[in-house]
Symmetry: C2
Subunit: 324 residues, 2 copies
C-alpha cells in the first residue's frame, strides 16, 4: 500500500491545514487559535491571554558544534518572546521542558539554565515549572503565557488593502550566519544566528501607535508576508530593493557567493517583525527605524516581488516543518 | 576533569532542587511555581490560571511496539489533564508540539490527532496551536492552561497533622501493565497502561468538599506522599494493606511473580489522586469511593510504611527524571 508522506500533502503547510481542519475549539473564549504567532484567549475585561510554545531539537534547530548551552537556553526563550511580541503583548510566565541524554554533564544543564535565566531576567519572565526527561538528542521546549491589552492585540489577519508593509530591521542575518557556520567561514552574521534577539520593546511601541497586522520573522520575509496575506485575504507587492539588509549580511553573503536577498526572503529566525499599517501612520512609524518594503493590494493581484522593474511570484519560505 | 552527572547530585530530585534554586520569579502573581502539579498564577478576582506541560518521548515514555498512535495522543492529553485535576481545576486550552521523523506516514499523524481530539472532546479542551518539527524519535509535548476558582485550589503544601491520607482508586495498575508488556504476557492491566484515565471529575468533587492537599500519581504512591510531606513540612504513616489494588493487578502480578504493592508504591502513571483531608470529611469523601490509606503526622516521625505490624521507611518512587 502506498504510504502518504508529509511532502505528498503539500509539506508543512498542507499538514498544518490538515490538522487545523480536524480540530474544534470547545470554548467561545478562543479569539485566535491555530494560524497566529500565539493563541489568543479571552479572559477578563481588559486583557487577553496569549499562549505559545516552541521546541528546539538538536541537529534540527541547533547543533552543539555551533551553539553553547547558554545560547540554546537563550534562543529557547527568545523565540517564544518573539511570538508574544508579534501579537502586541508582553510575556509573563514560562514552562521549560527538557529532554536530555542520560549521561549529560550537570554543567551543561547549569549553563543551559544560565541562558534561560539571562533572558528571563531581561524580560521579567517567571519560569514557573516544566519537566525533565530522557532523549538521545537534546530537546528544549518552552511554553509561554503573555498578556495583551485588548486594544493592542495585533493579529495576522488585519492587513487592509492600501496598507504599507514594514520590516522592523535587518533581515536575513541569522540564516546568513548559519550558512557561514556550515561553510566553516567567519563573519559577523554568525552571532546573529547564535544569539537572535526578539523585538519586544519595538512591538509594544508599534501596537500602541496602531498597526493593522503583525508577524515575527521565523521563516523568512516571503513566508511571513504569505501568512499575513492568507489570513487577511489580501495580496501584496514587495520591493526587493527596499528590504533592509545589513552591511554585515552583504559582506558575509559575498564571502560565500550567495545573494543576501535570498537570505532575507527565504532564510529564517531573524525575529524581526513584519507588519502592515495605514499610510497615515508612516510619520510616527519612521521614528522607530522601521522600513516600508511594500504594499497590501487586492487578493486578485497575488503576492509579488518587484525587482529590477520586473515582478515575480513570491516563492514560499524555508519549508521545514514549522509553527501552526 | 571529573564530569558531574545527574546521578552524582541526587538524581532527578537533586537536579530539580538545583534548577529551582537558580530560578527567580519576576512576578508577584506566581502563587505556586516549581514544586506542584501545575503552576498557579494570579489573574482576576475569582480564578487562578493553572499552567502545566508534559512531554512524551518515544522509547522513554512509550514504545511503538505497545502503543497505537491514538493511545499516544490520548495519553499526551490525559497526563496534562491529570495535573490540572490535581490542583482542583478545570483544563481549558492546550498547545501540542510534535517532533516527528521526516518520513513518517501522514496516517500516523492523523491517528495521533484522533487520540488528541477524542480526549479534547471529552474534556472540552480547545487545542489552540502548537508546532511540528523533526526528530528521529517521536516526541509529543503538550502545554495546558486551566482555571481554578480560588476557593477550590488545592496545593501539595496544605497537608495538616492529623489529616487522613486518601487514594482515589486502584494504584499500580499502569506499571503492572507495562511489566506485562515487557515480559510479553497478557492481562487486563495492559489497557490501564496504554489508556490511563485521569480523575478530573472526582478531583473537582473533592475540591468542592474541601480537602487540604492533593497530587496525582505520576511516579507511584510513595513518591507522591513524599512530595506532599516535603511541601507541607509534615510526616506520614501509610498502611500498606489499605492501599487500593484491583483484582486484575493482583492476578497480573502473580503471573509475573511480582508483589502488587510494589507496583502501587513505586510504579507510576496511574493518574489516581493522593490527597489529605480532615477526619471530619471522612463521611462525605467515602461516598466517592476513595480509600483512607494513612495519616499525616509530625515531621519528626518521618515517612513510614506500616506492614505486618512493622514500620519501614518509605523508599523513593520510580526515579526517572521527572516533573518539577
Amino acid at each position: 500500500m502506498h504510504k502518504v508522506k508529509i511532502k505528498d500533502i503539500g509539506g508543512e503547510l498542507g499538514l498544518i491545514e490538515r490538522i487545523k481542519s480536524k480540530i474544534k475549539p470547545y470554548s467561545k473564549d478562543v479569539v485566535a487559535g491555530i494560524g497566529d504567532d500565539a493563541a489568543v484567549l479571552k479572559y477578563g475585561k481588559k486583557n487577553y491571554i496569549l499562549f505559545t510554545t516552541d521546541m528546539l531539537v538538536e541537529n534540527v534547530h541547533f547543533s552543539l558544534k555551533y551553539f553553547t548551552p547558554e545560547q540554546i537556553g537563550m534562543k529557547a526563550i527568545e523565540q517564544n518572546v518573539s511570538d508574544i511580541a508579534a501579537m502586541g503583548g508582553i510575556p509573563k510566565f514560562a514552562l521549560v521542558s527538557l529532554a536530555l541524554p542520560r549521561n549529560i554533564d550537570v554543567g551543561f544543564i547549569d549553563r543551559l539554565y544560565s541562558g534561560i535565566n539571562k533572558k528571563s531576567k531581561k524580560y521579567e519572565i517567571s519560569i514557573v515549572g516544566g519537566n525533565i526527561s530522557h532523549s538521545e538528542k537534546i530537546i528544549a521546549s518552552v511554553a509561554m503565557i503573555g498578556f495583551a491589552e485588548k486594544k493592542y492585540l495585533t493579529l495576522r489577519n488585519g492587513a487592509k488593502i492600501g496598507d504599507l508593509i514594514f520590516c522592523s530591521g535587518d533581515a536575513g542575518k541569522s540564516s546568513a550566519g548559519l550558512k557561514l557556520l556550515k561553510q566553516n567561514t567567519g563573519g559577523k552574521s554568525i552571532k546573529k544566528h547564535l544569539e537572535p534577539v526578539s523585538r519586544l520593546n519595538l512591538a509594544r511601541k508599534l501596537a500602541k501607535i496602531g498597526i493593522n497586522s503583525m508577524i515575527d520573522v521565523s521563516d523568512g520575509v516571503a513566508s511571513e508576508i504569505r501568512h499575513i496575506c492568507k489570513e487577511s485575504k489580501v495580496g501584496a507587492i514587495i520591493y526587493a530593493d527596499k528590504i533592509p539588509i545589513s552591511k554585515d549580511t552583504i559582506i558575509d553573503s559575498k564571502k560565500i557567493k550567495k545573494n543576501p536577498i535570498g537570505f532575507a526572503l527565504y532564510g529564517g529566525e531573524d525575529f524581526e517583525l513584519i507588519f502592515t499599517a495605514n499610510k497615515n501612520k508612516m510619520k510616527q512609524l519612521k521614528k522607530h527605524g522601521v522600513k516600508a518594503i511594500g504594499e497590501i493590494v487586492d487578493k486578485k493581484y497575488g503576492i509579488k516581488l518587484a525587482k529590477d522593474s520586473k515582478k515575480y511570484n513570491l516563492k514560499n519560505g524555508f519549508d521545514h516543518f514549522k509553527r501552526f
